[in-house]
Symmetry: C2
Subunit: 392 residues, 2 copies
């Protein structure tokens, strides 16, 4: 009567990574015994303050920052909202022009659009067919009114790694504040804020095997910002609210592990990613890869199956125990055509056939083979269900 | 050579409660194995969605709400910022008048002051010497322009329980939105949103033995609000950002325990609280109780020692292993005279001698006796250090 255990293959690490057991081990004693308020001077509070500052130091080391430049937040979305609104509003007397791109996450685009309603002018830079932003285009878009450039380092939907260093050099030359949404890249590829010439950078624990509910904003010393969550004096007055103690410890430990193991993880995943990028178009007719063929996150493969709904493929893959995403997790419920795929020139019909396969450090070659075995017959089955080869 | 273990007495539960071991037990399996993005339809995501919705249901049950009326946030400060800015901005076409009180937490006062700068008019209601707001005064302050009344149910500094039900009835009669900051009260005293006639209510897990980094905003069905953190479609589009999965599970479990054990906890703590309120003025000359003598949180005792700095007493108590607060944890580093104590009529000189003793469910009668033994000689010692009996 024993049930057969269904094989479970999680290929949705862009949406969320599992928490590393070593991170849980680091969190546990603090979850149990670290609860004093760090703003209070008693031993209980100072124990918490020490745990938080150790976490801050580790996050700083991951990105080549100093600890004082790290502000803890609750998620990448909060960091992006905070950075964009806070930097724009702190600098609006200098000018009211913001530059962003057509492939940003909604936690960047929506605050930018809100600022637009409030009178800011916004330039939405296009990307090429591989999803890359042209550094020259950024430089050309900067005017005397420009106060903020905010760009992603890698979109969760297409995984292309943007030329942030080249863009950063140009933005710095013009004296404009540069914010980078590195939620999908920090902890996965080397990110050094000095090397990249960024003034503000968003990162999130849940993208590199830390817990959900904790993230950070790097803010270069001297960069002006208006606080987003107002209240107490936490985080040097820049972010009010009781600290997520266990979360910060977990983010710190995850950052430490990411720094140490980044190369090993990437070396393992790049061949798996490349196998997907090579084999999927071979095994599935009318499949094309999205994003850059090589300049992409080591754990990210994506593409579109023509004439088939990503949602249907994802549901049938799920029945085989395989978890993939049909685009950005944050918009999948919205069922809107992805603005990122439209921006790289995918036609509106084909956008709906989008699939993102995002690998994690514990995925194996067998996981990739399992997907490559299961997906093609699913595509064929869905095509047979529709005489025109269209699911809708 | 064995060190004597120093007795540790934590009396700073208004700042943060320890996490209940049963909450940790509830969190752990999810910290390990629940990581799918709940917006994705695969099994991993749906497992997370189920955990989140169970947490939501438990939070709703704690305050007599429906699950759909609960929005998860990262802290009480975020909930307060969100509620105040979001409700005010959603209703500003109806009017631009807000009513609050002189004893609010900074996470209420600062957003209100920001709205004031943007053109809103604000009435700051006074309180009586016990810290109570007069419901009649609230009713009288409401004009045709009033769109929001935002009041605390209990200040962390003085613990007086406000007549929210009476105020709620009057605010409802006038058709104005009523937000209550129940960070210090929800989970500690009975809070029923229907009975209290509130439209929005802030609560936080770290005040009733849940983890830090997770909180909620109750928003009555139909209450208009503009989202605060913009981005993805989480929380029905009202709060973007990846969910704090383990945190939400912990908040839910803590809410369930609080509901079941609230009376037992209070029955245990009220006599300890009352002993402090009775004995402290007897044992310490020039000590007076702050807040209401009886209508106060079951775990809250507070007062001022004349001519002595609270900070000095707190430091010496810490050397005896006792953790207390000198006021609101969020402002203690700021060393400003507490606006709450000034509002109840404490003189500026005496404000600095403020101490808050906040009990927790695991405190014992012996803990209270230990404080009552240790504090008087500390006060005497500090007085002796200054010939005028003044520490400064």
């Amino acid at each position: 009567m024993a049930d057969e255990v269904k094989r479970q293959v999680y290929l949705d690490h862009m949406a969320n990574t599992p928490v590393d057991p070593r991170v849980i081990e680091a969190i546990l004693p603090h979850l149990k015994n670290t609860y004093g308020n760090p703003l209070n001077l008693h031993d209980f509070g100072q124990k918490t303050a020490k745990a938080i500052e150790e976490g801050r130091q580790k996050v700083a080391e991951l990105i080549g920052a100093t600890a004082k430049e790290i502000i803890f937040t609750s998620c990448g979305s909060e960091s992006n909202n905070f950075a964009i609104k806070g930097i724009a509003n702190a600098n609006e007397k200098k000018g009211k022009h913001i530059i962003t791109s057509a492939i940003e996450h909604f936690s960047v685009l929506h605050p930018v659009k809100e600022l637009e309603k409030q009178g800011f002018k916004v330039t939405y830079l296009p990307v090429d067919k591989n999803g890359l932003i042209d550094p020259e285009a950024v430089a050309k878009a900067i005017t005397n009114e420009t106060i903020l450039v905010t760009l992603t380092q890698a979109s969760n939907e297409i995984g292309a790694i943007e030329p942030i260093k080249e863009i950063g050099a140009k933005v710095k030359e013009k004296g404009v504040v540069f914010h980078v949404d590195a939620v999908q890249s920090a902890g996965t590829i080397p990110v050094d804020v000095a090397d990249l010439n960024v003034d503000a950078l968003t990162l999130s624990a849940n993208q590199f095997y830390g817990p959900t509910g904790v993230a950070a904003l790097y803010l270069k010393k001297g960069t002006r910002i208006i606080p987003f969550i107002l209240g107490g004096t936490q985080e040097e007055g820049k972010r009010a609210g009781t600290h997520n103690i266990a979360g910060i410890v977990g983010l710190g430990k995850a950052a430490e592990l990411a720094k140490t193991e980044m190369k090993v993880r990437a070396d393992k995943l790049v061949p798996l990613r490349d196998k997907l990028l090579k084999e999927l178009p071979k095994k599935i007719s009318d499949f094309f890869v999205t994003g850059h063929p090589t300049q992409r996150l080591p754990n990210h493969a994506s593409g579109c199956v023509k004439f088939i709904e990503g949602e249907s493929m994802s549901m049938l893959l799920n029945m085989e125990g395989i978890a993939v995403s049909t685009g950005s997790a944050c918009v999948s419920k919205a069922l809107k055509a992805s603005h990122v795929l439209l921006a790289i020139g995918v036609s509106p019909e084909n956008v709906h056939g989008s699939l993102v396969f995002s690998l994690g450090k514990d995925n194996s070659a067998a996981d990739v083979d399992y997907l490559l075995e299961k997906l093609p017959p699913i595509v064929n089955r869905l095509r047979e269900m529709s005489p025109l080869g269209k699911s809708k």
